[in-house]
C-alpha cells in the first residue's frame, strides 16, 4: 500500500473521475448554494408581491418629500380600514429621510474613526496595547444591538435631555414634536459606536496585508511613518475600506431595535433649517417603524404597507452592494491592491 492510498489520496485524472465521495460533496455543496440563491430570489419576489398594492396605489407620492400628510395618521387610517374598503394612502418620506440622515451620518463618522483607529493599531500602537485593543474591537463588533439600545435609553437619552435640551427649545416646537432626549442625535451616536468596530476589524486586516516592502520603500525615501502609511498603505487598502463601509452601511440601514428604542418613535422629518436643535429632534427610520407596528400584520392593507417599507430597505441594500462592487472594481484598477 502506498502512502498516498493509505491517507485516502487518489490519483487525479480522467480515470478517476468517478470518485464518489468527491461527487457527493460537489452535489451537496452545489445544492446548498442553489438553495441559498433560491431563498434570496424567493424573498425578493415575496416581499415585492406583498408590497405592490402600497406602491401602485400611491405612485411617486410614496417617496416624495412634497406629498404632505402625516405617516402616523396614515398608518392609523390604514390599520382601522375595513377589508372591503382598504385605505392604502402612505407618504413615507419622513421615514426615508430619517433612515438616510441617521445612516449616512453614522457611516461618515464611523469611517473616519475606523480609519484612524486601524492606522493606530497597525502602525503606532505598542504591542501591549495592540494585544488588548484587537480582541476588544472584535468583542464590540459582536455585541447584540439591543444592548446598545438599552444603554441608549437608560443613560444617553436622559443625559441628552438634561444637558442639551433647553426649555426655550422645547417651547419652540411644542405641539409638533417633543424634545426629550430621544433624538436622531442619540441614534447617530449609538449607531456609530455599533458599526465602527466592524469597520476597524476589516481595515486592520486590509492594512496588514499591504506588502511591507511597499511601505518600507516609502520610508527609505525619507517619508515619515504616518505619511508612508497614509499615502501607500491606506491607498492600497482602499477597496477594503469601501467594502467595510458597505458592510457597515448595510448593518446601519437594517438596524431596528436600537433605533426604535432611542430615536423617539415619531414619524417626523427633522429639518436642517432648525439649526442647533436638528440633532435633538425625534424621528423614526423605516426598520424601526416595521418593528413598532408589527402587531398590525394581520390587517392586510397594513401588512402591505409594512412590506413596502421592507422592500425599500431591500432595494437599498441591493443597490449598495452593487455600488460597492463597482467602486471596488474601479479602485482596484488604479491601486494594484493585493486584496
Amino acid at each position: 500500500m502506498t502512502l498516498a492510498s493509505r491517507i485516502g489520496l487518489r490519483k487525479a485524472g480522467p480515470r478517476n473521475k468517478k470518485n464518489r465521495a468527491d461527487q457527493r460533496a460537489e452535489r451537496l455543496l452545489g445544492a446548498l448554494a442553489c438553495v441559498v440563491l433560491a431563498l434570496i430570489a424567493g424573498m425578493i419576489i415575496f416581499v415585492f408581491q406583498k408590497a405592490w398594492p402600497s406602491f401602485s396605489h400611491n405612485g411617486f407620492d410614496w417617496f416624495s418629500p412634497w406629498a404632505g400628510g402625516n405617516v402616523d395618521d396614515e398608518l392609523n387610517a390604514i390599520f382601522h380600514s375595513s377589508a372591503s374598503n382598504p385605505v392604502l394612502t402612505m407618504h413615507a418620506w419622513p421615514l426615508i429621510w430619517a433612515t438616510a440622515v441617521i445612516t449616512i451620518s453614522a457611516v461618515i463618522i464611523a469611517t473616519g474613526m475606523a480609519l484612524l483607529s486601524a492606522m493606530f493599531i497597525v502602525e503606532f500602537a505598542p504591542t501591549g496595547i495592540r494585544r488588548l485593543l484587537e480582541p476588544v474591537v472584535r468583542l464590540l463588533a459582536a455585541v447584540p444591538s439591543v444592548i446598545y439600545g438599552l444603554i441608549g435609553i437608560l443613560v444617553l437619552v436622559p443625559w441628552v435631555d438634561k444637558t442639551f435640551v433647553t426649555d426655550s427649545a422645547k417651547q419652540s416646537v411644542a405641539g409638533v414634536i417633543s424634545l426629550n432626549g430621544s433624538s436622531i442625535g442619540v441614534g447617530i451616536l449609538v449607531l456609530t459606536v455599533m458599526i465602527t468596530p466592524i469597520m476597524i476589524a476589516i481595515v486592520v486586516d486590509a492594512l496588514r496585508s499591504v506588502p511591507a516592502t511597499w511601505r518600507d520603500g516609502a520610508v527609505a525615501l525619507g517619508v515619515n511613518r504616518f505619511r508612508a502609511l497614509w499615502t501607500v498603505g491606506v491607498r492600497a487598502a482602499r477597496p477594503a475600506i469601501v467594502a467595510a463601509g458597505i458592510l457597515a452601511t448595510a448593518r446601519a440601514l437594517g438596524e431596528a431595535i436600537m433605533l426604535s428604542m432611542v430615536t423617539g418613535s415619531v414619524a417626523f422629518a427633522p429639518n436642517p433649517i432648525d439649526g442647533s436643535i436638528f440633532f435633538l429632534e425625534p424621528a423614526r427610520p423605516l426598520a424601526a417603524t416595521i418593528i413598532d407596528n408589527s402587531e398590525g400584520l394581520s390587517v392586510p392593507p397594513f401588512a402591505q404597507t409594512l412590506y413596502a417599507f421592507a422592500a425599500v430597505l431591500l432595494v437599498s441594500a441591493a443597490f449598495l452592494s452593487f455600488a460597492g462592487w463597482y467602486v471596488r472594481r474601479v479602485l482596484r484598477r488604479y491601486t494594484l491592491s493585493p486584496i
Partner: protein, 270 residues
Amino acid sequence: MSTKKLRTVSVMAALALCAIVPASASAAKVISISGSTSVFPLETKLAQAWHKTKKGKKFSFRILQGGSNVGISDVSKGRVSIGASSRDPVPGSDPGGLVFTKIARDAICMITNTANPVGNLTSAQIKGMFVGPTITSWDGIGPIGGTIDPIGRATTSGTHDAFKNIFLGGSNQGAFVAGKASNGLVQQGVKSDPHAIGYVSYAFTSGVHAVQYNGVDCNLRNAKSGAYGGVRSFYFVTQGAPVGPVKKFIGFAVSKKGQKIASTEWVPLH
C-alpha cells in the same frame, strides 16, 4: 463525514420526522392561545391553575403572544383555539362569526414622572394634551412648569385602542405623540423625563406617579369598585360559541376560582 455516518444521520432524521407527525395528530388535547401581550400573564396563570384541577389535567396548553389583532386573526383562521384580546370587538371590521367572552378587566393609568406628581387630570385635559394639542404646558396643571412631552403607544396596540376609546372619547391620538412599542418603553420614557406624560396598564406603574383621573385614584380597589373610569376589558375570542375543552377552560376562567386569580393583579368581573 463518512458514508456510514451520513446514513445514520439520515435515518435519525427520518425517525425524528416520524415522531413529529403523531404528536401533531393528537392536537385535540392541546388548547392553543395566541394574542395580546397584556392578557398573556393572566392567561398563563389561569392555564397553570386549570391544569392542576381534575378536569384540566387531561389537556395541555400552547400559549403564544403577538398582540390582540394577531390573536383575533389567528382564531378566525382556525390556527388557534382561543385568541386573547385586550381591545373591544369592532363590529364590521372584525372577521365574522367571532364570539368575545369577557374574562377580566384592567385599569389604564395616566402616569407622570415622580418629580412631577400631578394631582388630578380631567378627560378634557388629557384630550387637550394628546389630541390637537390645545394644552402644551404644565403651567397651572403640574407642580413643575415647562413643556409637556406626551408619550403613547403605536397605532396597532390594544392599549392604544383602549386609551383612544376611554380617555379620548374616540378621537385619534395626535401624530406628535411618540408611539412606543410596549408598556415598558412608555414607563421608561416617563421615568427618565420629568416633563413626560404617558398611559400604561396598571401593572406598569411602579417607579412612576399614577395620576388621578377625573378625581379618582388609579388603583385596583377603585377599578374593582367601578369608581375609576379608565378600565378596559380582556377577552377570550373563539370562532363561534366555545365547545368542548375550550368551553370548559373559559368556564373555569370566569368561575369564582378563575376570577380569584384575576383579582391578584387585574380587576375581576364581579
